[in-house]
Symmetry: C2
Subunit: 467 residues, 2 copies
């Protein structure tokens, strides 16, 4: 199997380190096999690398104290939120201590008057939205999983709303971060904009625990739109659906969500979520705004869709209908797996400039079809981002080889179109080999930053850049 | 006078360095006094530090070659766009070579289908908008000056449209950068989003030439709105005007521009631009959208303004009326100087969370009034950012002392409200002393990054961080 990381020397936590940690956190230090294994493997097919122990941290100060102890012993530390990443981000490649922040789950402050809030890193996106519902505000970023805000920040996550509201890059205002020597910094003040030095906030967003451990996050919030309207529209083919999206974006229509599901993915979600949509390439839309504004957007998008053979809009305006629609969309991954029970899946994640999206999807679909593997496609196509779900028999190494080769070709295709190997999943250890081609000498700059901020390579070693 | 930078040892370019540069660029190497002095001083009151020579570069390759030569001699390099910065950014504090990119003024590619373009660093914002006018697109970021895109990127500039369209942070997609050893990198692919490693694009945006020299910029563009409507509305007092803005932002009304001018500033622009507005605290608005969308925004904002005593909206809907209005706004600085002919000005630049904006402006106005200095206030208040124009007699050191003390108190006030010392002007050498208070230990992280990317401190030394 190819995508194993290169073997790195073990840096197992010595007994003295574990003893100091136990003295600090008591029974919130766990060394049992089950807990360690659970913390060494994310939701992907990537091989598990359990840490030597797991600390269930409860405060920034405690994370700082843990890091200081580990630093003294040269022991790696790996932060952990919900474990729902997809590229082996949390694997303890050299052993070390996993810092689980899931108990740091307090919403520290909500400031409706500034449309922002500050949360501990372990708060999940659904928990936050529950908590703030009464304020009339919401937080839009929605990766498939109910991930932690800390993990979403660390992986620069996005989701279905990014076309309108941006990704974690645009929605994090400030961070509290524990550095490799245990010092605690705040990356920015809470003003909406600043020109006061290097943009540390954006540097830590997407740094995957390799530059520091994120313990608190200040986020932008948005008013819940007065009107929300969602629709499903089937198209005669992939190109027609994707070209409708391209025309929508090029017309600057502020659509809140526009998701593409190919025929196979529609078949999968019909079976999994007990729906009866047409099993052809389909777009899911959502529109946010005032009643008149939504009406205007809907009319413009319907006209563009009709130009491309998409005329059968089915509307979901009641909250429960919309919830059912998006629940089916969010479960696309599990629905895909349902096509071949007993099989495993992994997901590609390329993102290309919107003008190249139809080419990229059509060429990819042809490559997938020629392979004989069952591979549905689903995507946040308004951003130029789409996922192929590779469904493989775990007992058949040939199938995984085929899928990995398809994914390699897909990444090269996206890079040749000035796209990226990962739109939202991140690098972990699974995508490191692609960064050389994607970034060239810029990867040396990333390496220099890593060495400057973590000279002993203690923070989630073996991820993003090889040293 | 206080705001002089600490003296740094001279690192004058040796004759051999100048000879090599002359061999490379011929008569595009200038060593005359007038050109050197012009390149050592920006538009602010900060003291001039002329470089030893100026190279008028014509390509990324040439910038790279110049940097390689300078690196061999340990000679500093300082990039220069239009020289319109405001915090001494371009001062050659230790001597060295100024690289003027104003002749790198080609729009390299416009891609209407992707709503983006790539320009050389010397293209100015007005030149770009002229160039793309026929495409139906525009680039919204508009600092007061007709600055270069390279300089705007390097200082993380914004302007009157930032409340709707964001700053350079949100609108730069990718950069070509020459590193301290002459290597050329591209910070990112052109996809709208990516999770492929550290966000180098955002790291170089706002780095003020201290981490690399920006030679090409890929920017987001926007469709010119179908309808644009602008208005001026006077208010009975500062609080009423600012509270109208706060209510507008808190209601999530997507206003394109909302600018505050206090009574003194209104008096100044009436005189300077031959207008006859009421000389009370005033808001300038602009609304972008479809006809119905603009109508809706206008009605909502008028209702909010009326709640705060602002009822006399004067509309400027014809393009020439709007142009006149915004021209007057953009000339606020020069209008302010017109209040005391022969005097010099400098501008503060704090930015605070919107909930604290009224407090911050009211407290500041009282402090200014007590000082006896003539100080109009103008601001991009939708972002929480405002400017005090300090008008001082250059022959009276007491006045400058008073103004600097007022500015110090203003910065401390903003920081105590979780704001920043600079919303959009940047640090240069004028704001460095405030960063310790603003960032604490995070400043050490900035220092570590500077050392990692520029170990010999060749790139615009003495700016942002002290080493």
């Amino acid at each position: 199997m190819s995508h194993l990381p290169p073997a790195l020397p073990a840096r197992t936590a010595p007994p003295e380190c574990l003893a100091e940690l136990a003295a600090l956190v008591g029974d919130r230090l766990a060394t049992g096999t089950a807990i360690r294994e659970q913390h060494g493997k994310d939701e992907s097919f990537h091989v598990a690398f359990p840490p030597d122990a797991v600390v269930f941290a409860t405060s920034t100060e405690e994370v700082s104290a843990v890091v200081k102890i580990c630093a003294r012993y040269g022991t790696p530390v790996i932060p952990f939120g919900t474990g729902t990443s997809l590229e082996g981000h949390i694997a303890a490649l050299q052993g070390g201590i996993c810092i689980d922040v899931s108990r740091m789950n307090a919403v520290l402050e909500v400031r409706p008057e500034d449309l922002d809030c500050t949360v501990q890193a372990g708060v999940t996106r659904k928990q936050l939205n529950e908590f703030i519902r009464d304020t009339g505000l919401f937080f839009p970023i929605d990766p498939g999983a109910d991930a932690s805000i800390g993990g979403m920040t660390a992986t620069r996550a996005s989701g279905t709303n990014a076309v309108r509201y941006g990704t974690m890059r645009e929605n994090v205002l400030a961070l509290t971060v524990v550095l490799c020597d245990g010092r605690v910094i705040r990356t920015s003040r809470r003003a909406r904009k600043s020109a006061a030095g290097y943009d540390l906030t954006r540097l830590f967003v997407g740094s995957e625990g390799t530059l520091g451990i994120i313990t608190e996050v200040t986020l932008r919030l948005y008013g819940i739109p007065e009107t929300i309207s969602a629709a499903v529209c089937p198209f005669p083919g992939v190109e027609e659906a994707v070209n409708t999206v391209i025309a929508t974006i090029q017309s600057s229509i502020p659509v809140a969500r526009v998701e593409f599901l190919d025929a196979l993915q529609m078949k999968a979600i019909n079976a999994y979520s007990k729906l009866s949509h047409a099993e052809t390439p389909t777009l899911f839309f959502e529109f946010h705004g005032s009643p008149a504004g939504v009406q205007e957007q809907v009319e413009m998008v319907q006209a563009l869709a009709a130009d491309h053979g998409g005329t059968d809009f089915q509307w979901a305006n009641a909250p429960e209908e919309r919830a059912r629609l998006w629940d089916a969309r969010h479960k696309a991954y599990y629905a895909g797996l349902g096509l071949r029970p007993g099989c495993s899946g992994f997901s590609s994640d390329v993102c290309v400039p919107i003008s190249r999206l139809a080419d990229c999807i059509v060429e990819t679909r042809a490559d997938l079809d020629a392979s004989g593997l069952l591979c549905p496609i689903v995507g946040h196509v308004g951003d130029g981002n789409f996922h192929v779900l590779f469904i493989v028999n775990p007992d058949d190494p040939k199938e995984l080889e085929t899928a990995l080769a398809l994914n390699d070709r897909l990444v090269q295709r996206a890079l040749s179109m000035d796209g990226t190997c990962t739109g939202e999943h991140g690098v972990g250890y699974g995508k490191m080999e692609f960064l050389e081609t994607e970034h060239g000498d810029a990867l040396d700059v990333m390496r220099a930053i890593k060495k400057a901020l973590d000279p002993a390579n203690l923070l989630n070693p073996g991820k993003i850049v090889r040293l």
